[in-house]
C-alpha cells in the first residue's frame, strides 16, 4: 500500500462524484435488502387505507371529489417517502452513529441525500402506481397518462425532501422525530388542499397552503392525470422546481455532519 496521491486513485472529480453517489445508493439498498417488501407494504398502507376509508365514507361522490381522493393519496405515497421516511431514516442513521462513518469520508453531503432519496423513490413509486390503478378501478375513473408524470413525481418528492432531511439531521431523539413527522403528515394531508378543494379551507389555512410544495404538487398531479400537460401544470411544475432548489440549498447550507458545534 502506498500513501495518498498514488496511481490507484480517481483523478476526475466528476467520475468520483458519480462513483460516490452509486456506492452510497448501494449502501442504502443494502440497508433494506432484507426488509424491502415489508417497507413497500407499510409505505402503501397509509394511503391505501385512506383511499378505502374515503370510498366507504363518501356517498355518491362527484368525479371532482373522487379524483381529489385518488391523486391526494398518490401524492401521500410520495410525501411519506420524501418527508416522513426521509426524516425518520436520517434521524435513525444519526442516532445509530452512521454519520461518524460518512463524515470521515471525503463524500459530498448532497450525494448522501440523493442516495437516500433514490432509495426512497424506488420504494414509493410502486405504491404511487398501485394507488393510481386501484383508485381508477374502485372509483371507476379514467386517467390521462403522460410521460410528464415522471418529472412531476420526481419534483413532488424532491420539493419536500429538504424538510425531511432537515428534520432528520436536527432530530434530538427518535421519539420526537417520529411524533413530529406524523403530525406534519396529518397537517399536510388533511389541512391543505391535497385532498380537499382550496376554497373549502379557512382563510388562514389557505394562506398557509401557499407556503407548502404539496399544494402545487397536488394541483399539478390532478390536472396532469385528468387533462394532460397544460400551462397550469407547467406553472405548478416550475414552482415545484423552485421548492426543489430551496430544498437543495437548505441541505447544502444548513446541514452539517462535520464540525458539529
Amino acid at each position: 500500500m502506498q500513501m495518498h496521491n498514488s496511481a490507484g486513485y480517481e483523478h476526475s472529480r466528476f467520475k468520483q462524484l458519480v462513483a460516490e453517489a452509486w456506492i452510497l445508493f448501494r449502501i442504502q439498498l443494502s440497508n433494506i435488502r432484507e426488509q424491502w417488501a415489508l417497507i413497500f407494504i407499510l409505505a402503501s398502507l397509509f394511503p391505501f387505507t385512506t383511499l378505502m376509508f374515503l370510498k366507504f365514507f363518501t356517498v355518491n361522490p362527484t368525479d371532482e371529489i373522487m379524483i381529489r381522493i385518488i391523486t391526494g393519496n398518490m401524492l401521500f405515497a410520495l410525501i411519506i417517502m420524501g418527508l416522513n421516511a426521509m426524516a425518520q431514516d436520517i434521524a435513525w442513521q444519526k442516532h445509530q452513529g452512521h454519520f461518524t462513518y460518512y463524515a470521515s469520508l471525503p463524500i459530498a453531503k448532497v450525494n448522501f441525500v440523493i442516495a437516500n432519496l433514490i432509495r426512497g423513490a424506488l420504494m414509493s413509486f410502486p405504491s404511487f402506481f398501485i394507488l393510481m390503478f386501484i383508485g381508477q378501478w374502485i372509483y371507476d375513473i379514467k386517467f390521462h397518462y403522460s410521460f410528464a408524470l415522471l418529472p412531476v413525481m420526481l419534483l413532488s418528492i424532491m420539493s419536500v425532501v429538504g424538510f425531511g432531511v432537515l428534520l432528520g439531521f436536527w432530530s434530538p431523539n427518535m421519539q420526537l422525530t417520529n411524533m413530529l413527522v406524523q403530525a406534519l403528515m396529518m397537517i399536510v394531508g388533511f389541512m391543505t388542499p391535497v385532498m380537499v378543494e382550496m376554497s373549502q379551507l379557512p382563510a388562514v389555512l389557505q394562506a398557509f397552503s401557499y407556503l407548502l410544495p404539496t399544494t402545487y404538487a397536488a394541483e399539478a398531479l390532478r390536472e396532469l392525470l385528468t387533462v394532460g400537460w397544460t400551462s397550469s401544470v407547467a406553472t405548478n411544475t416550475l414552482i415545484l422546481f423552485v421548492f426543489t432548489v430551496v430544498s437543495y440549498l437548505l441541505i447544502l447550507k444548513k446541514i452539517h455532519w462535520r464540525m458539529e458545534s
Binding site: 500500500m1 500513501m3 452513529g97 462513518y101 463524500i107 458539529e260
Partner: protein, 321 residues
C-alpha cells in the same frame, strides 16, 4: 520532523459552558509517529479526536492539519485522515467485502485498486471465509476486524483508531497491532486512542495522557518512565504463606504483600543480578516463581493520573525509601 497536526489551546464546552469536555489542550502530532492517547473512560479522548477529524468544532482554540485550519478544510481532512470510531454501525448490513470495497471507492480509489486492496486486506485480516457474510452476522471480534479493515483500506496519510483492540482475543489483537505498525512503516502517522496501556506500550512512540479533559503529560514512553519510581518490581509467587525466605526478602527492599501467596518487592536496579541469584537459590525454601520488570507505562499512567496530594505523598515515600 514535520508537524502533521497542531492542536492549539483547544477547549470544548457544552451547555453554554456548564460542561467542559476538554480544556486548553495544546500539543503537536509529528509525521510518521505513533501517538497514543491514554486516559480513563470519559477523560475527553474521543472528543479531542472528533475535534482533530473536524467532526466537532472547538469552542476555543484551533487545530491545524499541515498548517491548514481543520474547521475550514474538513473535506481535506476526511480525504487524508482515516478514522476508526469503535463500532462500524453504518456498515452492519453490508457484507465484509462490500464494506471494504465501498469504503475504498468512497475514499476515491479506482475500481481495480479497490478490489485488489479488498482482497489483500481480507487475507491479512483472516476474513476470506467471512467475505460474503453481512457484518451483523459476524462475531464481535470479526466485526471489529472488518471495521479496522475499513480504516486501513486506501492510502490515508494519517490513521486514527479509537480503542481498536476492544473485544479481540490475544491473537487478533496481535494481528491488529502488526497491521497498524505495518502501515506506520509505510509512512502513515498513527493516532491510537486506548485505555489498554500494556498493549499501547508495545506500539507507541509517544504518549499523551488525558484526564478530566486536560492534557496531563505528553512525551516518549522512555522519558515518561523516568518520571516514576525507578526501582524494579519483583512479583513473587509463594509456594506457602510465610515461607522461610520471606524474612530474607524484606532485607532486599520494600516488600508489599499482595495476596496470601503473592507479594511485590521493589528493589534498586543495581541489585537485580544479586536478587536473581538469591531467588533461584531460595526457590526450594518456599518461593514458587517470580518475574522481575522495570517501570511500565502503566506505572507512568497511574503516577501522572494521581491527584496532586496523593502524588506528593508518593514522592515523599519514594524519597525516604
Amino acid at each position: 520532523m514535520k508537524r502533521v497536526f497542531e492542536i492549539k489551546n483547544v477547549t470544548k464546552t457544552y451547555k453554554k459552558g456548564k460542561v467542559t469536555a476538554n480544556e486548553n489542550i495544546s500539543f503537536s502530532i509529528m509525521q510518521g509517529e505513533i501517538l497514543g492517547l491514554l486516559g480513563p473512560n470519559g477523560a475527553g479522548k474521543s472528543t479531542l479526536i472528533k475535534q482533530i477529524v473536524a467532526h466537532v468544532q472547538p469552542s476555543e482554540g484551533k487545530i491545524l492539519y499541515n498548517g491548514t485550519d481543520v474547521s475550514t478544510q474538513s473535506r481535506l481532512v476526511s480525504r487524508e485522515v482515516a478514522y476508526y470510531a469503535q463500532e462500524p454501525a453504518s456498515l452492519t448490513s453490508l457484507k465484509v467485502n462490500e464494506a471494504l470495497y465501498f469504503t475504498a471507492r468512497l475514499r476515491g480509489m479506482k475500481k481495480s485498486a479497490a478490489k485488489e486492496q479488498t482482497n489483500q486486506l481480507l487475507e491479512k485480516l483472516g476474513l476470506q471465509e467471512s467475505g460474503n457474510k453481512q457484518l451483523k452476522r459476524l462475531s464481535g471480534g470479526q466485526k471489529r476486524l472488518a471495521g479496522i479493515g475499513t480504516t486501513l483500506i486506501g492510502a490515508a496519510a494519517v490513521l486514527i483508531f479509537d480503542e481498536p483492540t476492544n473485544e479481540l482475543d490475544p491473537k487478533k489483537r496481535r494481528l491488529v497491532w502488526d497491521l497498524i505498525q505495518e502501515r506506520n512503516r509505510e509512512g502513515a502517522t498513527i493516532i491510537l486512542v486506548t485505555h489498554n496501556i500494556l498493549e499501547a506500550e508495545q506500539v507507541v512512540d509517544r504518549v499523551a495522557v488525558i484526564n478530566h479533559g486536560k492534557l496531563l503529560a505528553i512525551d516518549s514512553v522512555s522519558t515518561l518512565k523516568n518520571r516514576v519510581d525507578q526501582r524494579l518490581k519483583a512479583d513473587i509467587t509463594l509456594a506457602t504463606p510465610q515461607p522461610p525466605a520471606m524474612e530474607a526478602l524484606q532485607s532486599w527492599g520494600q516488600l508489599v504483600p499482595l495476596t496470601e501467596h503473592r507479594c511485590r518487592l521493589l528493589i534498586e536496579k543495581d541489585r537485580a543480578a544479586e536478587l536473581l541469584t538469591f531467588l533461584n537459590e531460595a526457590q526450594a525454601e518456599g518461593i514458587h516463581s517470580y518475574a522481575i520488570s522495570p517501570p511500565s507505562l502503566e506505572d507512568v499512567y497511574f503516577h501522572i493520573d494521581k491527584d496532586p496530594e496523593e502524588a506528593e505523598e508518593e514522592e515523599k515515600l519514594y524519597a525516604n525509601a
